[in-house]
Each structure stands twice: as structure tokens, then as C-alpha cells.
């Protein structure tokens, strides 16, 4: 497996091998799928839309609706305006969304289509909305695309003149529907009035009933996005993902925000809970405190298995930071923290985190790839690898226990329903990690060392 990967590290300036990121538009598509009755629209060649829908369908095992401007060579020469105009008409005619969320691609960006003007100039049916964002594939990653699409919605919709709603805006970051569900559950437990934006809980985890609904019940409504302008405060979860849209809302509607880490692990969840409690002036309910205590109970019960284990974590910047934080809380030692997303804030945050736990020999890198991670592991091995499905090739090649977590997971089921955020999510993460380590111990044990009780 991956036999062509040499141990010797070669500095690369141009060749990306086995990336740990993908391009902006798929993130934009996912964000738009978290808006109620919204049709994500890919302004570019057909392939982009097809790839993104495929990719999302494979991770979520759910239909991922989206349309495309179907650029031809002609569109490249004359601009994509005509295609977009036709598309928008057809989409409203045939698929009848409330809102179309257009994102660009490397193609339409290179051409220089002026989406804002195009949209202003097109006929949009009464009561329907078209918004857009710029998501050039050659800048950032899918994480930025997600943030940019949120920003796009805010720019078009959020209304400064909304009367104060008393609601807290919760920007969940690029996480699974199960995570968003859990974030909402916690907010409800504390009694906070909130708007989760975007919210794929209900759209990307919908029920099988024999009746397909193109627009299921879930998703942030257009009105809710409008009223974000009157929100009490915004909790922007994911210090890399959610800050851009939060800043836009601040700029446009003067809504203050707090940038918090994704609530993965004890402390990050504490921060989320504290913030909700602060904002709502409500006490943290016993039931939630109980969950926290149960999590700590598990962490102590199983601590011996984590102690000083070296772990490699690959994925999106905020989730990698979250997993690393929880690994540290468990007593593990991150050895590699890597993301493909090119954002040095990741490295900065990683260093702060590692410093706090006195870990000095961890390589934390943004803008790198799984090929480099693999080479690093070849040179200094780890006891555990946490990441999306692509990491399984490395896990196999180097025979490292592997926990699937983050995005994308293309080869397993059920995971998008199961939160990794919050205290309950950390319990799951602890189970995944301890099972991976214990399964390995069982596998490697000689008969004489095969333990009944562990």
C-alpha cells in the first residue's frame, strides 16, 4: 500500500500529492444545503457540481441537491451570465426553491463573471431570492468556501434593522448534522433562544419514509438569516471557519460575536456552555453538568490506555484542533497535526494548545498533504491516526490504529448522525479512540497475553 512513498522527505514547492483539502465550492454547497428550501448552484462547468454532489452524497449517504450553470466553451468566451440567467429561471420553474445560493468556481472566477451585477440584472420571481458568494477554487479550501457562502447569505439577507430578537446566533462550523443537532440540544437544555446557521440537521440526515422531499424540514430559514441582524450575539464556533461570516455580520449589522473553538472535548465544550450561560443569564442545568461528569468519569476510567500515546491527526483545521485538544485532555501526545487548508492561524492555534500541555515535539502544519504526513510517520511512527477516510491508506501501509473522524468519511455508515461535539460527542470520541487502541492491543497480544478484563 502506497509503496511508492519514500521515507526520505523531499521538499516540494509545486507538486501536491494526496491532498488533505479540497476546493472552496464544495464547502459553499454544503453551507447552502443548511439553508431551508435553498438550491445550491454551482456557477461553472458541469464537472464541479457533479463532483461536489457526489462527494457530499458519499460522506452523508444523502442526496445532495445542486444545480450547475453548465459552462460551455462559448460561456467561457462570452461570460457565464446567460447560462446563469437560464439556470435561475429553470431552477425556479422546475425545482421551486425559495432561494438559490450561487457560488463561483475557478472557471467563473478566472473569467471574471460579476455575479453581483448579473443577479441584480436578472428576473427573479416574486418572493424568491438569489444570493451569491465568490469561491475561487484556487484560494483556500472547502473550509473557506463554507465560510464564504455563509458570508454571502449574510451580505444579501441579514438585516441591520431587525428589531432585537434576543436570539444567539450559533455558527456551527463545518461539522456533521449530528454535531449541529447536539449543539442545538445543548442550547435548548440551557434554554437559549438561538439561530443555528447553517443547519444541516434535518436536511443532510433526513428520514427514509418512501416520500422524497427535495427540501426537507431542516435548515436555517431565510427569515432567520435576515433576523441574524437583530441577534443578541453570535457564537462563532471554529476559530478558523466561522470568523469570516461573524465579522461580516458584525460589520453589516453590528452584532457582536465570540470566536470559540469547536466544542470538541471538555474545555472547548465548557467554553460553549459558559458562553450560552453568559448570554442567556441562565444557569447550566444539572443534566448537562451530569453529562460533563460522566465524560470525566470515562476519561479517568480509561486513562491508562491513552497515556503518552503519540497521535497523528489530519483533516480540517478546526476539527484537527478540536481532536488534538481532546487527545491532550485524555493524556495523549499529538505528534503530527496537519491540514491541507492553507491558514497559518491553524499553526498558531495548534502551538498555543500544545504549549499549554507542554508538548514540544509535535509537528503542526497547515497547507500540507497526506503524502507528507505519511513520510513523517515513516520517519517517526505514531500509536494512533485520526482523520478522514483517505488516511486509511496510511494506516494500512504503516499498520497504525485508525479512528475515522472529520471530513470526509466515505467508507463507513452512521457517522454523520453521531456527534463528536459536546460532552456526549467527546464520550463517543473517547469510545472510538479507546476501542482503536484496545482492539490493537487485542490483535497484537499473544494468546498468553489476551486479556478478558481491560
Amino acid at each position: 500500500m502506497l509503496d511508492m512513498t519514500p521515507k526520505e522527505l523531499v521538499h516540494r514547492k509545486a507538486l501536491r500529492v494526496n491532498p488533505a483539502k479540497t476546493c472552496q465550492p464544495v464547502g459553499a454547497m454544503y453551507a447552502a444545503l443548511g439553508v431551508h428550501r435553498c438550491m445550491p448552484h454551482s456557477h461553472g462547468s458541469q464537472g464541479c457540481c457533479s463532483y461536489h454532489r457526489t462527494f457530499l452524497a458519499r460522506h452523508f449517504k444523502e442526496p445532495a441537491i445542486a444545480t450547475t450553470s453548465s459552462f460551455s466553451e462559448g460561456a467561457c468566451v462570452f461570460g457565464g451570465g446567460s447560462n446563469l440567467k437560464k439556470a435561475v429561471k429553470n431552477i425556479f420553474d422546475i425545482y421551486d426553491p425559495d432561494i438559490i445560493a450561487v457560488h463561483t468556481t475557478c472557471l467563473s472566477e478566472t473569467i471574471g463573471d460579476d455575479l453581483k451585477t448579473l443577479i441584480q440584472q436578472m428576473e427573479i420571481p416574486e418572493g424568491k431570492i438569489v444570493v451569491h458568494t465568490n469561491t475561487p477554487s484556487y484560494v483556500g479550501s472547502h473550509i473557506n468556501g463554507f465560510a464564504n457562502m455563509m458570508t454571502g447569505f449574510i451580505k444579501y439577507l441579514s438585516d441591520k434593522n431587525t428589531p432585537a430578537t434576543g436570539k444567539v446566533g450559533i455558527f456551527p462550523g463545518f461539522v456533521n448534522p449530528g454535531d449541529m443537532h447536539e449543539l442545538k440540544r445543548i442550547a435548548k437544555m440551557i434554554g437559549v433562544k438561538y439561530t443555528m446557521f447553517p443547519d444541516t440537521d434535518g436536511t443532510m440526515n433526513s428520514a427514509l419514509t418512501g416520500h422524497y422531499e427535495m427540501y426537507p424540514k431542516g435548515g436555517t430559514t431565510v427569515d432567520e438569516i435576515r433576523e441574524l441582524g437583530g441577534a443578541q450575539h453570535v457564537l462563532a464556533l471554529g476559530e478558523i471557519t466561522s470568523v469570516t461570516p461573524a465579522m461580516e455580520l458584525k460589520r453589516k449589522c453590528d452584532v457582536d460575536f465570540s470566536s470559540l473553538p469547536l466544542p470538541i472535548g471538555v474545555e472547548a465544550t465548557d467554553k460553549y456552555v459558559m458562553a450560552l450561560s453568559h448570554l442567556s443569564k441562565r444557569e447550566v442545568p444539572t443534566e448537562l453538568e451530569e453529562e460533563r461528569g460522566q465524560l470525566l468519569d470515562i476519561m479517568i476510567d480509561s486513562h491508562a490506555y491513552y497515556g503518552d500515546k503519540r497521535v497523528a491527526i489530519a483533516g480540517d483545521p478546526d476539527t484537527v484542533l478540536g481532536f488534538a485538544a481532546f487527545c491532550l485532555e485524555l493524556g495523549m501526545k499529538p505528534k503530527y497535526m496537519i491540514t491541507g487548508t492553507p491558514d497559518e492561524k491553524f499553526t498558531k492555534k495548534a502551538k498555543e494548545l500544545l504549549l499549554k500541555y507542554g508538548v514540544t515535539d509535535c509537528i503542526a502544519k497547515a497547507n500540507t498533504d497526506l503524502f507528507e504526513l505519511h513520510q513523517l510517520i515513516k520517519n517517526e511512527p505514531v500509536d494512533l491516526l485520526i482523520g478522514g477516510t483517505h488516511c486509511k491508506y496510511i494506516a494500512r501501509a504503516e499498520d497504525v490504529p485508525f479512528v475515522r473522524a472529520g471530513f470526509p468519511i466515505l467508507d463507513r455508515y452512521v457517522h454523520p448522525y453521531m456527534p463528536l461535539v459536546g460532552y456526549r460527542g467527546a464520550m463517543r470520541l473517547a469510545e472510538l479512540i479507546s476501542n482503536a487502541l484496545l482492539d490493537r492491543q487485542d490483535r497484537d497480544a499473544e494468546d498468553k497475553d489476551f486479556e478478558l478484563v481491560m
Partner: protein, 533 residues
């Protein structure tokens, strides 16, 4: 209103005008019908089509296991074609690049200042780290616009590193679908790879190439197994578990088998012109079709020993699957299906469905041309539109050195008369009929409609449709990825296919979709369940 009208009913104006010609109702098998195909999709229609790059890199070039294929562009395109198409490959020496993704990961500055420098450097790094025999470059959308001369970089790299380096300008916006990418890939392979080893043509033997076989789920391996068992020698497979190395020798084959007509017929034709290698449209999907195919190949060679061996192998293989075949036939007989995929599969798979007594009531292609529906006889009548015209039509000439001894004209005509598909493909329509509907470039809305109208027992499509179809309560299996199973080709593959179909239709969960409280009274009455003591 007939079905076709119901489908079209919602459309107004331009869309109606466009789509009406892509939807055809067939009266009875074989009746010629014209269908609009290989034309631009209507923007906004939620179609299943991909792009030119997907056809070139994703389909044709990606499977080459000994070749570093560098996607030149932003990261996404390379990322999405990394390990996702199940074109299995096995390098006994471990030199397997199919597990890797190579990209120049273009950044904004590269777009602004041009990406040639980065591409050059990327090739240098690839050569230094991986020492490949061949490097191929596939452009994505922005490359054409910013004017990177990838051919110049390729030529330069060949000189610098003494390897083969081929550039493909397969920007996503070219053509109307993947189909353009197939063509571009075919051209590149023909121009730079096929026959480049320049080895002598051996005496006429039983050497064959398999064209248009991408070894999805191991299909190619299963075909090879059967063909080798009979006695054929496989020179090269295009391109499933294929290699640059093997392709350089492809000109030495005696016959080209064409499995996926749509993606590879260009090469078949060009090799006929250049090397005089006959090609035969084959189909290894389905039991009866595999038998037909094997017999036609044997007929082509006219070798009695091979004919006999062919019959022996057919008998052996049939015996092996007899029990399963019977079981699944019993379970599947009378079930109806929709088949909507690619450019050849929607036809091929109707045959294996027939094997098990299933009827295809609706079908369609994503990116086929008219000949794939109507048969190659319509090719002269196909008018190329602007999108297709822009794809280079490579002109080849007979190669004096490597021109083959071919089948004599008389035998060729005789075989053709026996309906052997030599240099011919009959298309999908002739195998359909009876009020079935065919939809070209089907979209999400139409897919919903045909499901509502025909209520098939199972619907074969791809992952983008699959979950929507299931939400509607219909089993849906993927014919791109075989739902990660396979092989589906050959005798044993037919059983694997039937098993998956059986499992999908009979999954117990289908019976539970409606919660009991939707049909039984809950709010009143006694607890009637026998379990209530």
C-alpha cells in the same frame, strides 16, 4: 397523456423545446427512432453529467497504474478523481500510482501569473520522487483561459528527464459532458502512446486488446480470466489496470475488443485506419451476452480449436453458476428496472437483467451520442454542434511499418451478415421497445417523474441519484461503482450483480417504511397486540 408527455408537461418554452427531443418512447424493438443526444445540457437542470476533465482524467487516463497523471489546476479536480472510480489496479512490483493523487494545486498567484513554472517544477518533483515511465498532464478549467502552454512544458520535460510526457487540454468546459474528455484522451493516447514501442508485428495469432474496459470492481480481471482460459493473449487493456508500458505495444494485437463503445470508439477506429486492426463490439455484461461475445470472438479468428475451447469454457462457467443463476432468476423474474448511466452501460445492463427475467422499462444515458442509442448507422447523419466541433478530430493514416494482415473482406462481410458487430455497434434502441421510455441526459426532475410513472422494482443509476431514489422508496443500485461490489462482468459477475439486485429489492427495511402508528389506531381502542397479556 402518455408517459413522455407527463414528463414534459411541466416544462415550458425553451426547456420543453430542448428536452422533448431527448425523450423518446419506443414502440417496438428495433423500430428506428431519432433522439437528441450529445448536446448541451440545459443550465439549472440538476443533471448527472460531469465534465471533459472527468472523461479524460477520471475515466480514461486515471486507471493507468504506471503513470503519474498530474492534474494541472486548483486542487478539487485532482482530489475528486483520487480513488473514487474503483478502476482497480494491481502492480506486482508495487509501482502503483492509482493510489495517489498528483496536482499542481494552483493558487491565485499561479492564475494571475501563469502556471507553467509551477507545472514544470511539479513534473521535476514527480520525476525525482517517483521515477515514473510516463507523466501525463491534464488541464482543468482555468488553464485554458490563462493560456498555460502545457504541450510546451511536456515537450521540454521529455527532453529533460528522458521520459514520455503527454499533455491533455481537457478543461472541464469543453464539449458537453465527459464525452469530450474521452475523445481528447483517445487522441493523446493514439498520438503519443499506442504503438510507440514500435515492436514488430508478430505473425497472426490470438492477440487481443480490450478497449473501453476500466476494470471497475475488477470487471477487466474477470474478462481476462475467461479469455485467457480460452487461450487468448491479452496485449493491452484500455485502460483498466492498464499501463503505459502495455499501451506502447498495443499495435501488435490482432483484434480490438470494444466494451465501452462510447468512450473508446475513437481509438478503435483510428487503430483500424492506422494498423488495420479490426474491432469487434463486445459485451461481457450478462450471461447470454458473454456467451455471444465469446462465440463471436472465436468466429472472428475462425480457429476450430478456439471455437471448441470456447464452448468448453462456456459450459464450465455455466455449470459453476447454475445453482445461483436459478435461485436469483426465481427471485427476480418479472421485476422491472430503470437503467440510467453512462454511455454504454445502460444498454449492457439490460442484458444481464434479461438473464434473470427482469424487464427494463425505462433507460437513459448521461453522455451518449446518437449512435449509442440508434446504432452506428446514423453516424453519417449526426450533425456536430459547436461544442463537439471544438474537440479535435485526429486524422491518422495507415502506418506502413505496422499495418496488419486483417480478416479477408469476404469473411468480414459474412460475419457482419451474421450480425457479428465487427466495426459496428447496434445501439440500445434495438434491444428495447414495448412502450419503454428512453431519456437522454436525464435530470433529477425527470428521474423523479419516471419513478412516479413506472414504479420500477429497482432503479440503477449513480450516487447523485441513489439516495433521492431510495427516499422515494425505490431500491437503487449504482452502476458506476457497483455499490463497491463487483465484478459484474462475465458469468460470475452476473451472479454478483443478481445478488446485489436481490439484496436491494428484498431488504427487509423496505417493508417497514410506514410506522405502524400511521396505519393502526393508537389513540383509542385496547391494546390489541397478542403480546399484550
Amino acid at each position: 397523456m402518455d408517459a413522455r408527455e407527463v414528463i414534459l408537461d411541466k416544462y415550458s418554452g425553451r426547456v420543453f423545446k430542448n428536452r422533448k427531443d431527448h425523450i423518446v418512447e419506443l414502440d417496438e424493438a428495433g423500430v428506428p427512432k431519432e433522439i437528441a443526444a450529445n448536446s448541451r445540457s440545459v443550465p439549472g437542470m440538476m443533471i448527472n453529467r460531469g465534465c471533459c476533465y472527468a472523461g479524460c482524467k477520471g475515466v480514461v487516463l486515471g486507471p493507468l497504474r504506471d503513470t503519474v497523471v498530474i492534474t494541472h489546476g486548483p486542487i478539487g479536480c485532482g482530489y475528486y478523481t483520487w480513488g473514487t472510480r474503483r478502476n482497480k489496479a494491481d502492480s506486482p512490483d508495487g509501482r502503483n500510482f492509482v493510489q495517489y493523487c498528483f496536482s499542481t494545486d494552483m493558487q491565485e498567484t499561479d492564475i494571475v501569473f501563469g502556471g507553467m513554472k509551477k507545472l514544470r517544477q511539479a513534473i521535476r518533483e514527480a520525476v525525482e520522487i517517483f521515477h515514473p515511465k510516463a507523466v501525463m498532464i491534464c488541464s482543468t478549467c482555468p488553464i485554458g483561459l490563462i493560456g498555460d502552454d502545457i504541450n510546451a512544458v511536456a515537450t521540454e520535460s521529455e527532453k529533460l528527464y528522458g521520459i514520455t510526457c503527454v499533455a491533455y487540454s481537457c478543461e472541464g468546459y469543453k464539449g458537453v459532458s465527459q464525452s469530450a474528455g474521452h475523445h481528447i484522451a483517445n487522441n493523446g493516447l493514439m498520438r503519443r502512446v499506442i504503438g510507440s514501442a514500435k515492436d514488430k508485428i508478430p505473425e497472426r495469432g490470438l492477440r487481443i486488446n480490450i478497449l473501453g474496459e476500466y476494470n471497475i470492481g475488477g470487471d477487466g480481471w474477470e474478462e481476462e480470466r475467461i479469455l485467457k482460459k480460452i487461450g487468448y493473449e491479452i496485449v493491452a487493456v484500455f485502460t483498466g489496470d492498464g499501463s503505459y508500458e502495455a499501451l506502447t505495444h498495443a499495435h501488435t494485437a490482432d483484434l480490438n475488443l470494444v466494451q465501452c463503445h462510447r468512450s473508446i470508439n475513437y481509438i478503435a477506429e483510428m487503430m483500424k485506419t492506422k494498423y488495420n486492426i479490426d474491432w469487434l463490439k463486445v459485451n461481457f455484461v450478462g450471461i447470454d451476452e458473454t456467451i455471444r461475445t465469446l462465440r463471436e470472438i472465436a468466429d472472428y479468428f475462425g480457429n476450430e480449436e478456439i471455437k471448441q475451447r470456447t464452448e468448453e469454457v462456456i459450459a464450465e462457467e455455466l455449470a459453476d453458476i447454475a445453482e445461483d443463476r436459478k435461485f436469483y432468476r426465481q427471485k427476480l423474474e418479472g421485476k422491472t428496472a430503470g437503467v440510467f448511466v453512462g454511455g454504454s452501460r445502460s444498454h449492457h445492463y439490460q442484458n444481464v437483467l434479461k438473464d434473470f427475467g427482469m424487464k427494463t422499462v425505462i433507460a437513459g444515458y448521461e453522455f451518449a451520442h446518437r449512435d449509442d442509442y440508434e446504432g452506428r448507422e446514423v453516424i453519417p447523419n449526426i450533425k456536430l454542434d459547436a461544442d463537439s466541433k471544438n474537440i479535435e478530430q485526429l486524422t491518422v493514416h495507415p502506418d506502413e511499418q505496422f499495418y496488419h494482415v486483417a480478416l479477408d473482406k469476404e469473411r468480414f462481410d459474412e460475419l457482419r451478415k451474421e450480425n457479428v458487430e465487427l466495426e459496428y455497434y447496434k445501439g440500445m434502441f434495438k434491444d428495447m421497445g414495448d412502450g419503454t421510455i428512453v431519456v437522454d441526459d436525464f435530470n433529477h426532475y425527470e428521474t423523479e417523474k419516471v419513478l412516479d410513472i413506472f414504479k420500477p422494482d429497482i432503479f440503477y443509476s449513480g450516487i447523485k441519484d441513489k439516495y433521492m431514489i431510495e427516499k422515494k422508496g425505490f431500491p437503487s443500485n449504482q452502476l458506476h461503482s457497483y455499490d463497491y461490489s463487483g465484478p459484474y462482468a462475465g458469468f460470475k459477475g452476473a451472479i454478483v450483480f443478481a445478488r446485489n439486485t436481490y439484496l436491494s429489492i428484498y431488504a427487509p427495511a423496505w417493508k417497514m417504511l410506514t410506522p405502524p402508528w400511521r396505519t393502526q389506531p393508537t389513540l383509542e381502542g385496547t391494546m390489541g397486540d397478542e403480546n399484550y397479556a
